[in-house]
Symmetry: none
Subunit: 77 residues, 3 copies
Amino acid sequence: MEGLDVGLKAVGAGLAMVGAFGPGIGIGLMVQGAMQGIARNPDAAGAIQTNMILGIVFAEAVAIYALVVALVVLFVL
Amino acid sequence: MEGLDVGLKAVGAGLAMVGAFGPGIGIGLMVQGAMQGIARNPDAAGAIQTNMILGIVFAEAVAIYALVVALVVLFVL
Amino acid sequence: MEGLDVGLKAVGAGLAMVGAFGPGIGIGLMVQGAMQGIARNPDAAGAIQTNMILGIVFAEAVAIYALVVALVVLFVL
């Protein structure tokens, strides 16, 4: 049963990337809120944009954690 | 049981792409907010469009992480 | 147990397409927002349509990533 470990590594990396769907939804929710906020009060667009980018960075970091684990599973393990 | 590793790679790549449904929903949510914002305040359409595209880029990046892992599983592993 | 790898490829391609339901919901959400926006403010219909199509293109791209992985699993692997 040679090669089974390689196949299971592939399954593990795939499972890790399932975790990327949360940040995808989360970024959508925060930008949705920012868009509605800018529409309601365009004068606050600068502050909204700054905080939106701050939030995106942290959510993106979660997706990058999943990516890092997937790549470690594939190349380091 | 030769070929089992190839089959499991296929399963792994498929699992990685499951992670793509989050960005899909997320892009929908943020564009939904942008559409409602532009309708409420068309004068802010410029700022809303800029930030919408910024958000889409980050969400798309999450989908591309999943795609990269899937392609690495298929062709590099 | 010959043919197991072929069966697992089928499972992998099927799993990849599970990722397509996110873009499906996402496109629905953004068009929902656009419809409500045009109803609220028909004068903004032009700007809303432009941005709606822009958003659809990015969400559709996510679905196409899943399709590409599924086809690669089936025919290239």
